[in-house]
Assembly symmetry: D3
Homo-oligomer: 248 residues x 6
């Protein structure tokens, strides 16, 4: 059930039976010569919708632009400041918590979002108390990274070994190929690919990772792999979401 | 050309021929008993994509959640604070301006966004100067509301007269029916519909507009009307975008 | 009744009979070679005081510096950031609402303030709810631009036609001449005057409007015209204020 | 020379001969049963204008609302948060420093402003460096409290002794009587007047100072005293301003 | 070499040979019935000083109050908001980077700090570029948690097994006993200790962890264990710091 | 009683008998060629601990980095922005006030902190009301500067006369020598020492005070003097703290 395609009467009815909502969060950032700039948002959104169907959960609109400052030396990358993203999360949850939602399950497609999301959750719990929002103390937020689901992770290792890398990975590219087969891109991938440098500022990132990839070989990706990743992630995160709802 | 479905190499090439980008901005808010909560985002996104095809423009990801604080007494509505939305716009444009974009054309689906967007543009111009962003002085931002395009406005008056109203209008509902025919909703619409009260806070809004509509009769909407609105808006805004690019 | 010239006991008594207050807001910005930098504040303040006399309303101190970032390439111009002005408005209204005021009527002399003021109102309504200010839901804010009052607008067109322009206009200059006849300035006005360029950043503005005027011929202004504008604006806004108070 | 009554061409010429500007800052707060709410702004503005005439200095518009949170339990009092006032000062000085002003002389009428002003100056110096404003390192800000000018202070002690008190003092009331003789107020003043309690929050303040005065007897004030205070302050601060300009 | 016990001339000389600095960061929060409120700061500071001696590194003053909002339902706990801590880190690093430091090594004693620290680092890299700080692109920040050093972690498992828990652990308590043997506390520890509940808001935390411990048995701690932990951590983090400095 | 060396149970017990807490605040800034960068924090902390012993008061962790922007042109100096320090103080007091503390006594070692601290207190009182913190109206904050205690001030004048100066003074250096005799530094001190220039920005400060001292001769300091200053300050501030607690 997509919030965007629902009416307020339907949401009112939904709240009678559940106080949970799933928020997909991705990023808009370079993903190497062949990866889509929207990769992280596309993956998070597709999987969230799958989880929504599997669990009858309500799905909020996708946060398309996340925390990707370190990618902004590549054209087309966009990022919120961490301090801005914290405010965005605060505003989202404050509105929804006042309307009766208490369980916020973020399905995340981008490693760079995690720290800021967790910081935001802490800020949000305190803010809800500050504002004396009813049920403030019942509000719980959780972030799950689809690419770290154990079966997803295992399959990626199985299919790609070390060539999975850590950015513009074949697994995420495969997933976008499954969702948007019309947008499969081709470009030469230089050998060897850079890896092993920690992430600091944007210029430093581009200097060390000149084509944007971090140790990955996205040429290994196929739409069929993508379908497998999708199904594993949906299954795993559906269980995670239901457990999250069930916890006291 | 959708930014989300492009690679950074493609954006780099795009920047060789154009420094313009279109940003759809909508809202996530109640649209009466039968209107979709995502109406404003759906309309802005669909039209922006049409304009993108017509003009070869790059389309940024849609800002799904805008400034809709006055709707937040209805379940499912979400809003950024104006002060947050200003920061979001600042972050978007700062990233993109540093990468070489100078013309930002916002296609807007929600009246409540306009004031904050315009405030944000002023803040952004000053910020770019503060940061000594190259080409800061070339950056220009503009917001166009699809529902105020002259041919759109005329058709709405022709088809619906006074029953167009000013929120949850048949014209916007029609457009969503055209885009998502599978999500056409039905619910009883009380008579007469409230109208004429100015917009202040959220509780005040709901007290005066108890089902969320402002003087509108969305039951008049049809998908075919939606198609007409879509085509008129795309044509009109395509011209507007090209003029914007051409201005000195 | 001017707040500045009242005692707190008088304000306490005033609140027994009215919860309305008028806030003049202007700007401190270039107004062409002959217009006063304080034009917008002077006009707003003079008219607000006239409305105060006509309606027995309390008048708050004038906000002299508004949102005029686009004028700041001219010496003597001052501006708040939109984000700062939002906080100023928030602070003003929070204090006054806690003391019992619920109707805030801004008489505005500067187009550049409008977007930020409207954004600020939205922020304020939400803030008052956040703070659990009693009567938060009764608070209503409205901005009226004196130069857009229908009789003012008509007279300006009648007297000046196209030479009214849109900044450093003869109508506003005339009003300052009426209020401060000792400060009528003379300087050569180049021909033709620039017009038709949209407003973006400050350097861009000055490049397109090198002497600060936007399509106007302030040489047409006379103190007597100013008197007429003053009287029309006071009458029109007095009615507007009383209607605002009377609305539910 | 009042900025509000000048043109930008006149300011441009002024900057050729001086880079100094005087900013009057007051407050909008209760001043006991008979003191005007605008007392601090009225005093600061009148004296600043006198200093402007004596020294040919440019006078910026008065900051009417300052930091008076502790007075806000009395109707009609208004205050900025310290954090807001810091931003206001930052915005004022940033604009003016970019235009060429380097010496900012604040004539202050309210003790509650001093700490925040000084904090703001520190923030401003750093901000100007952050923004690489030319001449950032030449910018100097100073605040002078008219009521602490040595001759003013002495006269107040002479005329009123202990009855001068520390808020709603006869000296400041006298000065407003001199400036606005038409607004001299009368009301019973209870005996004895409270004194000696430090300033904390607003409710605490009103509890300890129930009529708003702090140890003062404003009934001793006369317009003629006001004239003397005015002249002493103008003379003393004119010297102070000229010394400030002359310092390296 | 402690920054607090150095002169600026000594720091100037230090910068000739190294651009690295170590910042200890802890927390001020409940640590169960027998753990010190300063545990995390004490551990981080002691280890940082040990690392400083081993590597000739400069040690900044300890950040004693971190992000511990979830502990604030227990008396004596203090916390910065994540948004505040981000600003603190920004201010620290901006000052030091302008003076020539480029490598910032945070030795951390509190899990709750990690997300906010990482968010802050991203914000800082971008800020340094915004401010055009020379060497902005050379600045690198890293956080190391002493309790996750592999030899520390192993020893804790060896000594305490599952009774190590995850808050108010015997390992950290032992370390404080080694540093402050005069402050060893005794109090009854209820059985069984709570565990397994995720961390959300402060009230929720206290409800699930009524005495503050998370699955730990700090009664197992001894000063001698503390000495072992200290030595392992110093050795491991000294290597980590030197590698950090050596990386390109 | 040091908060850092207490358990939450001990703090809970403390709150039964007292709602006061002492917060030492210093700075991390150059103190001339021979003064320690931590001078202000060292002095404030040592004296606060002495006062804590004398009065049985709880001592919060020291704020080591204060408002020292004007010193940041010297290596090793660190500073918070005033706006950041306000937030830090807000966070500290909000946490502690919610736990039951109502009297906050800051023992300060650095003149540059005073304005910002006072601004912060005003902000805090208002924030506690905004948040509806119970006992908000009982909260009182006070700052005492140890170096301005009357007996301290007198002794400094007696021992050093004019050579006390106003920064890197022999009195504060003496106190650090008493606390850290192992860190007594020697360096040539140029003659004559600069003095008499007001404090503005950091570059301006260093230009006028090239070795960091302001009119002082720290070579006169001895550890024995330091002991005397320490004892006088502890005695004087112990009385001040007890009076503060006793006031209504």
């Amino acid at each position: 059930m997509l919030l965007q395609l629902s009416t307020w009467l339907e949401v009112e009815a939904y709240l009678e039976r559940s106080q949970g909502i799933i928020v997909p969060i991705g990023s808009t950032e370079q993903h190497g010569p062949t990866g889509l700039i929207g990769t992280d948002a596309i993956c998070a959104e597709a999987i969230a919708r799958g989880v929504g169907e599997a669990t009858q959960a309500l799905i909020a609109p996708t946060i398309n632009v996340g925390m990707a400052l370190h990618h902004t030396a590549f054209p087309g990358s966009m990022s919120l400041r961490p301090s801005t993203l914290i405010l965005v999360i605060r505003d989202y949850i404050t509105c929804l918590a006042r309307e009766g939602f208490t369980r916020f399950f973020f399905i995340n497609g981008h490693g760079g979002n995690v720290a800021t999301l967790k910081a935001a959750f802490s800020e949000v719990y305190a803010t809800l108390v500050d504002l004396h929002v009813p049920q403030a103390e019942q509000v719980q937020c959780q972030v799950s990274n689809w690419y770290l689901c154990s079966p997803v992770y295992k399959l990626a290792k199985e299919l790609y070994g070390d060539q999975e890398g850590s950015h513009a990975t074949p697994s995420e590219v495969a997933l976008t190929q499954y969702v948007y087969p019309e947008a499969i891109k081709h470009a030469p991938l230089s050998e060897p690919v850079a890896k092993g440098h920690r992430i600091y500022g944007a210029a430093d990132f581009r200097r060390h990772y000149p084509d944007g990839r971090m140790g990955s070989n996205p040429a290994l990706a196929t739409p069929d792999h993508g379908k497998q990743f999708y199904e594993l992630a949906v299954k795993d995160l559906s269980n995670a979401y239901l457990e999250f709802l069930a916890a006291v």
